[in-house]
Amino acid sequence: MEILVCVKRVPDSAENEIEMNAEGNDIERDDLVFSVNEWDNYAVEEAIQIVDNVGGTVTVVTVGDDESDEVLRREMAMGAAKGILLTDDAFEGSDCKGVATILKGCVDKGNYDLIFTGAQADEGAGAVGGMLAAMMDYPYASLVNKIEAGDGKLTIGREIEGGNQEMNEIDLPCVLSIQTGINEPRYVGIRGIRQVSGVEIPELGAADLGLDAAAVGEAGAKVKKVDYFVPESGDGAEMLEGSNDQIIEKLIEILKANGGLQ
């Protein structure tokens, strides 16, 4: 099975204090510490496990800048065999559709049976996987939390509202967005790092992918972020302070006092 996993370099929320930029329409990105999108680790782990069982190769790809090879290397140190960096000034400012278009360029150049994305990334749209599937005319399933590889097909589980579970069959090739909890991603170790630290990672730009630069990046973006802010906490919101235990205790008190708990 040839599997392509789309991964993204995102601000690490544990390592950053998020601040607004001067224009007030985005967070200050220049100063952030980045790491790989948490969901993508689950997708890569799942791909590695499938390949361990049925054979094949795992390739990781990212749309990013020249620093993004670090997330590819990280995922390769986990066990992905190949990495591809899609980078071009023309890609900057892409909306979800732009990113999906760029990824399609990469998918077209390969011969993949299965494409994974994380269920969502830092911006929370969760849109790229679905768009990529539509552009490829591949079947798509989101929030996948279980996969069994079959012949020309997969059996997949999906997480449904309220903790319910559904099972589906899906034809290959297909695109799946992977939910956390599907597995326990392995850690990156020294051995893995040693194998990948010197590996050349191929970089492909718009021309290599046969893309019209005007269809991607800021030029092609039809969704534009115009504002970004932390909502004011409204009246009636009470921030509980103290240790976890104290907060839990207070919360129970409030729930009881208001009839939420008997």
Binding site: E70, G189, R191, G242
Partner: protein
């Protein structure tokens, strides 16, 4: 950002920008070093840190002769083995990565700041494997090392006995030669870290004992491998090692310390490592590393406590500015001057110590990789600074974690917050791997005087280099001057004590060695702060400093100024005390009556 236990930004700054750890010959680039640090951090955050409290609250138990530890320890050790962390420092033929010492210490720092107890198991195995690989026979290496490096067998250092702690020359564990070249071991060891537990399949003790007929004292001590289960024809058989007790400790409770009895049934086999009667010198060979690791453990705990205090003081609102009216809303306590002072103190201690230890590991690397004529000098610097790099964080860390508690007020004294545990976990570092008293005597009695005081001269040159490096920055000149004077104070004090040694002998010379070590610590940490401030000034003078870097760099300058303003002046009092004849010589033990 709650739950933060260290700053990767600061670690990378110190490692790359201040120390400039040279990865030459190790196959590492800055990028690959960062990958290692990021991977270590990920493991620390997800696997070690979540167990920090739990391992303290559910300490090891002795059940049916075996020590039961936290159930996650097995999978932690397996991962550390499988992923190559335990073998990292060793050559490739042992599955290692030839990891440079500075990177190893940085990784240890990350693990220990997440969960000190969980981090020590693999460190002990690494140390024990290192002894076998350095001094053991090929057969010992083949038999024991691979499984140890896989994290399946625990390594220990079994030195201490009930009647031989600091004074190892008095140890009585005996080794009787057998016809097959092995030895029969009998004796008792005490306080042996990870001396037995159920997260591994075997325990391999690197044990000091005296071969029958060997000279008394330190010259008659040999080193043995003594496994709990001895490999025999592909099977593992009990080797007559019994756990007689585990100790209920003040802190660092997630890792067991055991009392062990060897050869109660006369069936405990030991395998000699290297030559007979060389045991203590083999152990000393590892001593610098082990002591730096202790210093790093203390630094890591102080760092984690600082981050907890920082988070709390930003969020806790209490009191008002002295100039605010009583109707004003309460302010976050970090705005109070005294709280700021406590936070500055914690940062000054932990970041200063981190820098010093990484500096030592750089000297360690250079003592192997520098041009031949310089190797010995770097080794001397490492020797000189090791007792300081162990003790400064161990002793100041006690005060620093205490200040962390103080930032929390009453909450800090309670188990709801992590700092009371940090305080308890911290306390061991001034005791194990040689108490502070012993470090003081090692520094003054051995390191300062060796090679006619050459090490101190070399240090003085290193400090001068830093002073010269910052000469273009007017804002640093007063501090450069203060450091220069502090160096003079150290030098004068050393000469005075040298005179005492000549006139009054070793007892008088070393009576106040602990105070001398404290003074020495302040001077070297001030040096590390000036160095950090110099690096920061160079960065700030460059183009395009990013906004977050600006805040970070300015913070560094502030903490450095704090060190020079509040901590370094303490050497004034210490030097006065050290210039007096040691009072303790005159005061008889008999005076302690009530």
């Amino acid at each position: 950002m709650a739950d933060r236990f260290m700053s990767m930004r600061n670690l990378k700054f110190t490692l790359h920008e201040v120390i400039g750890a040279s990865p030459e010959g190790s196959g590492h680039t800055r990028k690959s070093m960062d990958m290692v640090l990021d991977a270590a951090f990920d493991f620390a955050k997800k696997a070690l840190h979540p167990l920090y409290e739990e391992m303290d609250r559910h300490p090891p138990e002795l059940i049916d002769g075996t020590v039961s530890v936290h159930k996650e320890m097995r999978s932690i050790l397996t991962t550390l083995g499988k992923d190559g962390w335990i073998s990292a420092i060793f050559p490739e033929e042992w599955g290692g990565d030839n990891m440079p010492p500075s990177l190893l210490h940085a990784v240890c720092f990350i693990f220990a700041s997440a969960n000190y107890s969980a981090s020590v198991y693999s460190g002990l195995t690494m140390g024990a494997a290192n002894l076998i690989l350095t001094f053991g026979s090929d057969e010992l290496k083949r038999t024991f090392v691979p499984t140890m490096l896989e994290g399946k067998w625990q390594g220990t250092m079994a030195l201490t006995e009930p009647e031989a702690g600091t004074s190892l020359g008095d140890l009585t564990t005996a080794a009787a030669p057998q016809e097959d070249g092995t030895y029969r071991i009998t004796g008792e060891k005490i306080f042996i870290s990870a001396g037995d537990h159920d997260a591994v399949d075997n325990v391999v003790h690197l044990l000091l004992a005296r071969i029958e007929g060997a000279p008394a004292g330190v010259k008659g001590i040999s080193l043995f491998v003594v496994p709990k289960l001895r490999p025999n024809d592909g099977a593992l058989r009990p080797n007559d090692v019994t756990v007689t007790q585990i100790f209920h400790k003040m802190g660092y409770r997630g890792a067991p310390i055991t009392a062990l009895s060897f050869g109660e049934k006369g069936d405990c086999t030991g395998y000699l490592v290297g030559e007979a009667n060389r045991g203590l010198s083999y152990m000393f060979h590892m001593m610098n590393d082990a002591r730096l690791e202790v210093g790093m453990g203390a630094t890591a705990i102080a760092t984690a406590a600082y981050h907890a205090a920082l988070d709390y003081t930003r969020n806790r609102r209490q009191g008002r500015r002295l100039t605010d009216g009583s109707g004003a809303p309460p302010i976050p306590i970090i705005e109070h001057q005294d709280v700021k002072r406590m936070l500055l103190f914690q940062r000054a201690v932990s970041e200063g110590a981190l820098s010093l230890i990484l500096q030592c590991s750089r000297y360690e690397a250079l003592s192997h990789t520098a041009p031949d004529e310089e190797k010995a000098d770097y080794h001397l610097l490492l020797e000189l600074l090791t007792p300081v790099a162990k003790t400064f964080p161990a002793e100041m860390g006690i005060l620093s974690t205490s200040a962390s508690i103080q930032c929390f007020g009453g909450y800090g004294y309670c188990e709801d917050f992590p700092v009371e545990q940090h305080f308890r976990d911290m306390r061991i570092h001034a005791i194990h791997e040689g108490t502070t008293g012993i470090q003081g005597m090692d520094l003054l009695g051995r390191k300062v005087v060796m090679k006619n005081g050459k090490a101190l001269l070399l240090l003085s040159r290193e400090i001068d280099k830093t002073i010269k490096r910052v000469q273009d920055y007017p804002a640093l000149q007063a501090m450069a001057q203060a450091l220069s004077e502090a160096k003079e104070t150290l030098s004068t004090t050393t000469m005075t004590l040298g005179g005492v040694a000549k006139e009054k002998g070793p007892e008088a010379f070393l009576a106040n060695a602990t105070l001398y070590l404290e003074l020495f610590g302040h001077v070297t940490i001030a040096w590390q702060w000036l160095l950090q401030m110099g690096v920061v000034s160079e960065k700030l003078a460059g183009q395009n400093v990013r906004k977050a870097d600006l805040a970070f760099y300015n913070g560094k300058l502030d903490v450095g100024r704090y060190y020079f303003g509040y901590e370094l002046p303490k050497i004034g009092a210490l030097s006065i005390a050290l210039a007096q004849p040691a009072l303790t010589l005159e005061i008889e033990a008999a005076c302690f009556t009530d």
